[in-house]
């Protein structure tokens, strides 16, 4: 199939692997040539996130936790690990992921299957694997894996002379994405599935594929949801839960209660906020899940409109840098990976912040960099690392690829 063909082709005219060899030689010189704006913004948000997590957890501890800084310390450890992995990945040419995307894909699928077998449930979602020293949430990593695989499939194959997004490629990418989503839906985790779907559609849109393919994917999905509803695979209440933001109910056990309390928290922050550690709504647990999905409520309450606005602006800068680096990338794979990571941050930020202020449905997804949770933080750092990686190796395009294209 596609894999086989590419493999054979790769052996015969393997000019890009030749280029990669040279790139690897030059790697050391280019290590420190990376986008500081992106890195600073990411570190700012993550550091800020630590403070906000501390504020959200110091007064409301989980059962059998006595240290008020417990969550803070845990997140700090993960941040340090994430930064380490971020740095380590920089030494690893991103183009290798393109070559071995199939391994990434298999790893992704195996991880998602193992969570269905070995995972444990939180809030009725079987999405976590306990590794004794820590637990991981495979669907978080899935998002990055999916971006890499889709980028690899939709960018120029070595068998091709010109980058064309053919029907075959689109079908292959759909297969990858829908298999991933299907496995995540079995947990079930609707939030992550929706994110992956939106990121995929955006990636397909910018890949250069015919716009009809994009419309086709959206159309088929919507049709599928309706069919699922009709056939009873999707229950009405699941749909209702998604749409609760349109008409929040006031019962404390309902999802609408979370929304009302979140709006009270954010609204009561007014212009400048109540000050770090001084938010009563979030500190006193009126906003449920305040350290994870509703972390933005804490920001809104304690830092007011100014703090919330600055947070959104920093997100916008990160997304902008991702897109900028995408456009500077030396190859289409790099472009697609950077755009994908940008889309991921954009989608998650929009939906997460949107849901805390009543603009979006309440689907349980974390806010990148800020929400408490190791898998969320580490996976997004891997994503950012890939973007920096692309940036560091962007020069290649001018020196070699143009020449290579002329050579062809």
């Amino acid at each position: 199939m596609a894999f086989k063909g590419r493999h054979i082709a790769g052996r015969s005219i393997d000019n890009s692997s030749f280029l990669e060899e040279i790139n690897l030689d030059k790697e050391k010189k280019r290590t420190f040539k990376f986008d500081f704006v992106l890195l600073i913004c990411v570190l700012l948000l993550s550091g800020f996130g630590l403070l906000v997590i501390y504020s959200a957890t110091m007064f409301s501890l989980s059962a059998n936790v006595s240290d008020p800084a417990y969550h803070f310390k845990k997140q700090l450890t993960i941040l340090i690990v994430s930064i380490f992995i971020f740095g380590a990945l920089l030494f690893f040419n991103y183009r290798r992921f393109k070559r071995f995307w199939i391994i990434v894909f298999i790893a992704n699928i195996l991880l998602l299957i193992s969570v269905l077998i070995f995972g444990y449930e939180v809030n009725a979602t079987k999405g976590w694997i306990d590794l004794k020293f820590t637990s991981i949430q495979p669907s978080e990593f899935s998002k990055i894996f999916m971006i890499v695989c889709v980028a690899a499939v939709l960018s120029k194959w070595r068998s091709e002379k010109k980058p064309v997004v053919s029907f075959k490629k689109v079908i292959l990418s759909i297969f990858i994405v829908f298999l991933t989503i299907g496995l995540i839906l079995l947990e079930p985790d609707f939030g992550q599935s929706i994110i992956i779907f939106i990121v995929f559609v955006l990636m397909l849109f910018v890949s250069g594929a015919n716009f009809l393919y994009v419309l086709g994917v959206i159309g088929v999905t919507i049709g599928g949801v309706f069919a699922g509803l009709k056939m009873g695979l999707i229950q009405q209440y699941q749909l209702d839960r998604l749409l609760i933001f349109l008409k929040p109910d006031v019962k404390p056990e309902g999802a609408g209660y979370n929304l009302i309390q979140s709006k009270i928290a954010i609204g009561s922050g007014k212009l400048f906020g109540k000050g770090l550690f001084l938010g009563t709504q979030t500190n006193l647990n009126y906003v449920p899940e305040s350290r994870t999905d509703f972390i933005f409520s804490v920001i809104g309450e304690e830092f007011g409109f100014v703090g919330a606005f600055i947070t959104i602006i920093i997100f916008a800068i990160i997304i902008w840098r991702c897109f900028k680096i995408a456009r500077q990338a030396s190859d289409q794979f790099g472009f697609m990976v950077c755009a994908g990571v940008g889309f991921l941050i954009l989608t998650q930020m929009t939906i997460n912040i949107g849901m805390t202020i009543g603009l979006m449905p309440i689907i349980g997804i974390p806010l990148p960099f800020l929400s408490y949770g190791g898998s969320n933080l580490l996976s997004i750092f891997i994503g950012i690392s890939l973007v920096e990686n692309v940036y560091m190796r962007r020069e290649m395009r001018k020196d070699y690829e143009i020449a290579n294209e002329e050579f062809k």
Partner: protein
Amino acid sequence: MNINSNRKLIFISYLVIVVVVLLSLRLYFLQVMSGEIFAQAASENITRTRSTAAPRGNIYDRNGKLLVESVPTIAVAVDPYTVLGREDILTILSKKLKIPYNDLKKKLEEKKTTYIDRVIIKYDIDQETLVYLKENSSNLPGVEVMNIFLRKYNYGYLAAHVLGYTGEITEEKLKMEKYKTGYEGGDQIGLTGIEAQYEDILQGVKGKIIYEVDPLGRPTDIIEQTDYIPGNDIYITIDIELQRFVEETLATQLEQIRETKITNTNEYYRAGGGAAVVMDVKTGEVLAMVSNPTYDPSVFVGGISTTDWNELNKPANRNPLNNRALMGFPPGSVFKIATAYAGLSEEIINNSSSFRCAGTWYGLGSDYPKTCWNKGGHGGLNILGALQNSCDTFFYELGLRLYLKNKNADELLQKYCRILGYGTPTGIDLPNEESGIIPDKTWKKEWFKNDKANSIWFPGDTVNMSIGQGDVLVTPLQMAYSYMAVADRGIQHVPHILKDISEDSGEDLFDYSIGEVKDLSLNQDYLNTIESGLYLVTKQGTAASAFSGFPINEFPVAGKTGTAEFAGRQDYAWFSCYAPIDNPKYVIAIMLEESGGGGRNVAPIARRILEYLFNIESSGIVRSVDSFGD
């Protein structure tokens, strides 16, 4: 990255700007434009207002004897929202408070839908439980130990119907206008009797504590505190010792009647219940109001159990919760004063007009014979003899003539009945007073609207009515009220229970319209005639044997016996009287259900009450055994 891809990414970049602007605008709206509102909501989130119950006012009798008081007690209340779904808490509560787990859960689930955030689950907990709950309060969010007050009835079942009982306010009541302000879930309110009638006076004003809480609802800091104002004490017109005497006398008499067979049959009297009212003729004060069977109001304290409630409502127990003194019954001959007054007023008869009683009367035609209770006939008698012997024939004739005058166009008999107070509530300050029935053309048309043949007024209807039969219903209280009009020569004092209020606040809460005087402008000569007839009843008439040995010359009594037929039941027995005749002081009306003749079975009770009131030495209950009926 072809140019196409780049262009699309730039397009998405613009989308990012749109997203940022939208999110920021929304945040601006929430935080800057509506910030105050949300800040208010946030501070409400962390403060709670709890009220502290005020003790209800005490109730004293006319002599200052403490009938009902409020005693402090400790109750456990829970917030159903917090506690439901916490099985651990429910289990602890169930075990510590000894309430079956499922009962507890069911009770809370019922209340959960009602937005009542405080449900009392147990009253009067012991010291050990209290200490346990206080020590473990941090593990028991939503559980509250409250100081409340409960009613204590010092005289048990005595005057239960007058006093009424209290209970927890219901959801429906909370929505009513009367309970809009100052009331909340878990409050004790008066549900019947004086407790309900004077709820606003007895209730008092609750204290208030505003405090901050942590997210689990545990109080952290008190912000504001105001003390409660106790309810006002009230004094009622009831003389509790007289009440006791009347209740016991009535109960004993009913018991004796139940052991008696109906003459010439093998059937026993059912004597299922009765009522008695003793009033002060000159003021309208109700000195005793008895309804039998009765109940112990203390079963309602702290919430009545389902078993007790079902027991009280079992038909076999003859509805002890009903206040029979305020319910309508067929009056029979006690009603004849109204017919007599109507006949005299319409000049159909005068003092000396006499009719012949042959035992059977054919006034409505030979097809419709009507009999006097005395089948042998009374011979010729005038109004005095007719009252004395309770001659039905005389009153049949009188009724018919009242009908024939103007062809019943003015409904003359009904007019005089209404003047005397029948057919409308007396206006006593007790809830659920019935109006009784004085039937007329309109009433009959409405009542028999599905039975056209019966819906017109026949002469026989007026004839039946003239001896207090037919569809006439009169409450024992109305009966006493109408005899008051005869006793005081046309002056009626509206019956009332409230005597005084002790206003601690200095505020004057007393309603001076209570005990209002009504001058009915009745003809004194006619009343004199009727009184003479009523005097003969106890002296030598239908109640003479019940009053034999009573110092009738010293304390002359005007009374009337009554034996009402009631379709499908045994006869209802009545006696109504007032004394002393020259300067009337007390008016009494007594009714016993399914107890046979009024002269035989009820008049002796009245005699005993009068003996008690006038301090006359008594020889115990004398039930006459002669056949002198009605």
